[in-house]
Amino acid sequence: MIANIVIGIAIFGYAGWAFIRHLKKSKEGECGTCSSKMSCSSCSSEIKATFK
């Protein structure tokens, strides 16, 4: 019974987190899907402003 609860919580918890994260990242578009997001400052508002 305990195993069922632990596994169930782990699976649904992780799935929920991964699903929401995917939706968030996809909506961010260009930067959200980029692997170098962490080391890249292109996503800063300053560089975005230059495109407007």
Binding site: N4, I7, G8, I11, Y14, G16, F19, S26, S41, I47
Partner: protein, 668 residues
């Protein structure tokens, strides 16, 4: 300290960036790989290196070039690291002279010394360094040779800065520079000489910047005066042209002193190969043949056997292992089904295609690294021009074969708004790697003998439809002038093992990561929707919520050959990520392995409806990430909605023609 990395397109900046920072950015040997600035930390862990898009001049033509000008106007940099192609110095030095005028310390990395040597060009590095007055370090960025010395030179601030400006432009220009200098006396942040010269060259970004300090009329007056004086003195109508000629003269002078060229008339191997590969008649058949070979390798020779092995491993030992572990733990039937019928089926069903995805990416990397992809753009130029675009627009489309998101972003290199928008709208028609598992599954079930030919047909259909729509849109909703296409063809190179592996891994790792994150989550959700229904828990799948949702679309899809709730549900999840289509199918038609799924599909689909389904998957909608990128790039809800709407309509019309037309012809 912040160091800006700058150079002409395709001089190896990104390779050097990767060597100096130890990071990995996408490297391609065509121009336009870097469309925005990227920042990395140098290996000394304190100084930052900023990789900027490649430019020929600081006067921007396209949006990615504007990134560079804006960077120099508004951002801070302590030093500039200028990378030059030793085999193309005559052209590369134009940018160097503009950087010298900018007035920050410079170090030059002289790249492609090996290529220059092959072309019989000998560069006297010390002499060139003395003439320009800046330190120059010879490097080979692809192999990393000389990169450490270059890094040390930059870090130890050996870079040299002198007030000396090498090019003499004459008294007319000097007078204008002085005037602007006086007007700008309150603002010492940037070199007024650089600002003045850029203004006279017609740099609109600089003009807008100067307009913050000087009245626009005064600026225009200065430019007009210089124009008049130059015309009177030299008969020169364009200030821009005059400045260019002065720089060219200076470059000729220093190159005469610092370089020696031999065997100028020798025809190089690259030129000989190009005569065949870029031939007007042979170019496109060669491209198609290479794509066919790529698909033969992916689907027939290597990919399928490997996927089969992996499939047997996942459906055999792995599933059995999980089964025994679950029974050992004594879990309930719900948890057991969730893991085996949901997660293992959904995630495993996608993972079995990893070998094929990697083989495809390896082949694409091989074609890129060898220098062939740049030729493809050239080969396509004539066709692209006839439809209102040019060969440059084909580069984002090729990138789109990997993933549509970077493909849409790469459209920034295109100069005119009309051509850029057209390219953004049409790139999603390129078949990205996430659609590949669907093709693999269906060709394996219905077209065993012609797997590669059918997939090649789908890719070509995507290109042909993109070109046809380009023609339609450019004659109706997106009228405007066309631009000419100029591309620099890199020499052919023997691809290097390490570069190939890194490039393949970087492209393919996202697929594996997605399987472990979103596909995992999607599989849980899809399984849950198939487990629950209006009637309660553990319902028959045909009575589940998934069947209800998929059933809404089924009648609409019937005329195109796959009017089942299963197809409707799969297509719906495909909007979130195309890989999800395959995991949904695995869960819906829960079967132990890929071969059984193919057997089951053979009952649900016919060869004709399978073709129709694959074409629908190819065309029907950009995935959520691509649609969001289109919105970010166009900043228009209207065009984003249009990109989704036209794709849906196109998919429906094309598949209707295929399915109903096929029926009329007696196909099944």
């Amino acid at each position: 300290m912040e160091v800006a990395l700058l150079g002409n397109p395709n001089t190896g900046k990104t390779s050097l960036f990767n060597h100096l920072t130890g990071s990995y950015e996408y490297v391609g040997n065509w121009s336009g790989v870097t469309v925005e600035k990227k920042v990395g930390v140098l290996k000394n862990k304190t100084d930052k290196l900023i990789d900027l898009p490649g430019i020929y001049t600081m006067v921007p033509l396209s949006r990615d070039e504007g990134v560079v000008t804006n960077f120099f106007l508004h951002d801070h940099t302590d030093q500039i690291l200028n990378i030059l192609d030793a085999s193309q110095l005559k052209r590369n030095l134009h940018l160097t002279l503009q950087i010298l005028e900018y007035g920050k310390p410079i170090t030059i990395g002289l790249n492609m010394m090996d290529v220059a040597k092959q072309r019989g060009i000998h560069v006297d590095v010390n002499r060139l360094s003395a003439l320009l007055g800046v330190p120059i370090i010879p490097i080979v960025a692809r192999s990393g040779k000389g990169c450490n010395e270059l890094a040390n030179s930059v870090i130890s601030q050996n870079s040299f800065y002198s007030e000396r400006t090498p090019v003499e432009y004459g008294k007319e220009i000097d007078r204008a520079v002085l005037k602007i200098k006086k007007m700008l006396k309150e603002n010492k942040a940037l070199s007024s000489r650089w600002l003045a010269l850029q203004l006279l060259e017609g740099n609109q970004y600089v003009k807008s910047y100067l307009a913050e300090f000087i009245q626009l009329e005064e600026i225009n007056e200065i430019v007009r005066e210089v124009e008049e004086e130059l015309y009177k003195s030299y008969g020169q109508k364009s200030v821009e042209q005059y400045i260019y000629l002065k720089r060219s003269e200076y470059i000729e002078e220093i190159l005469a002193e610092a370089t020696v060229s031999s065997n100028e008339n020798k025809v190089h191997l690259t030129d000989k190969v190009d005569r065949i590969i870029t031939n007007r008649i042979l170019g496109i058949p060669i491209f198609l043949l290479l794509m066919y070979l790529m698909f033969m390798l992916t689907f027939d020779w290597l990919g399928f056997p490997l996927s089969d092995l992996l499939d047997r491993f996942i459906s055999g030992p792995i599933t059995e292992g999980i089964e025994s572990l679950l029974s050992l733990m004594g879990v309930s039937a719900f948890i057991h089904d969730l893991i085996i019928d949901g997660i293992v089926a959904g995630v495993g069903g996608v993972l079995v295609f990893v070998p094929q995805i990697f083989i495809l990416f390896f082949f694409i990397s091989l074609l890129e690294d060898s220098g062939y992809m740049a030729r493809v753009a050239l080969v396509m130029d004539r066709i692209m021009e006839s439809v209102g675009l040019n060969g440059k627009a084909f580069i984002p489309m090729i990138i789109g074969f990997g993933c549509n998101v970077p493909g849409v972003m790469a459209a920034r290199t295109i100069e005119t708004p009309k051509e850029r928008l057209l390219t953004i709208l049409l790139t999603p028609l390129m078949s990205c790697s996430a659609r590949l598992p669907v093709y693999a599954l269906f060709v394996g079930a219905f077209f065993v003998k012609n797997k590669a030919a059918v997939v090649l047909g789908l890719y070509v259909l995507g290109i042909v439809l993109a070109l046809s729509l380009a023609m339609l849109f450019s004659k109706t909703i997106l009228k405007g002038e066309n631009t000419l296409f100029v591309i620099e063809l890199p020499p052919y190179r023997m691809p290097q093992g390490q570069t190939l592996w890194r490039s393949t891994w970087e492209k393919g790792k996202g697929f594996i990561r997605k399987a472990g994150t979103f596909i995992f989550a999607g599989s849980v959700l899809i399984w849950l929707l198939s487990y629950l229904g209006p009637g309660g828990f553990n319902v028959d799948m045909d009575q589940s919520f998934l069947a209800v949702i998929g059933g809404i679309f089924a009648p609409l899809l019937a005329p195109v050959g796959f009017g089942t709730w299963q197809a409707g549900a799969s297509l719906l999840t495909g909007f979130l990520a195309k890989e999800a289509i395959i995991s949904t199918m695995n869960i819906i038609y829960f079967v132990p392995d890929e071969a059984s799924l193919q057997g089951l599909l053979a009952v649900q689909f016919t060869p004709l409806s399978a073709i129709s389904f694959m074409v629908f998957i190819l065309l029907y909608i950009p995935c959520l990430a691509t649609a969001s990128t289109i919105y970010k790039e166009t900043e228009s809800k209207k065009w984003t909605a249009f990109s989704i709407g036209y794709a849906l309509l196109l998919a429906y019309i094309v598949t209707l023609v295929i399915y109903q037309g096929g029926h009329l012809l007696g196909l099944v």
